[in-house]
Amino acid sequence: MIDIPAALRALAEGGVEFIVVGGIAATAHGSTRLTVDLDVAYARTPENIERLVKALAPFSPYLRGAPPGLPFRWDPETIRNGLNFTLTTSLGDLDLLGEITGGGSYENLLSDSTPVAAFGVQCRCLNLDRLIQVKRAAGRPRDLEAIAELEALREERDARRG
């Protein structure tokens, strides 16, 4: 599990440009499904990578599932040389995504994200239509129920708006 308020606070207060995507974005939209990690799409600019590294350094990021002792340096060079990172941190499991299937980069997703205020910070969350679109594009059988729930949420939301 992840300490969602602390993770969002660390990223937002560190000035990191990021968008909450995946299961926790679905929760923000009203999904009832259990998810245990925080997925964020982050901007790959040199400045943002510096901010990201600095913001998460206090939480000891390490590659999730990697054997203990595997050399892993949490620094800007490592982030520049990679793209998507599945990490374990002292706050919980965190996935940093330079690109997402069917959605592309942070810049591609930005216009389809919405500012969300929670836990005293403001961050951006992928909007419901785009979330459905990227989950459909991922084409994973295990997402079928999740997509059905998201589409039902959209119908309920639209019905409430009249």
């Binding site: 599990m1 929760t27 009203g30 999904s31 259990l34 245990v36 389809d112 079928l144 059905a148 949420l153």
Partner: protein, 67 residues
């Protein structure tokens, strides 16, 4: 090809219902969704964290009981 480029540029292809998704949708508990939509985003995230804690404790209890 031009159709594909147009799809990327607009980033919002027309919504086409998927029969498989529609079949799954029939089993969704909409009363639960309506309850969730009444909550703020922060309340929804706090609920998720409570559920995560419960799942973790339940899993540990299972390990203790069945080892």
């Amino acid at each position: 090809m031009s159709e594909r480029i147009g799809w990327i540029a607009s980033a919002s292809p027309p919504f086409v219902p998927d029969p498989v998704i529609e079949a799954y949708k029939k089993d969704i508990d909409r009363t639960l969704l309506r309850e969730r939509l009444r909550l703020s985003v922060e309340e929804r995230l706090l609920d998720l964290m409570r559920l995560q804690r419960f799942a973790l404790e339940w899993r540990e209890a299972g390990k203790r009981a069945f080892r």
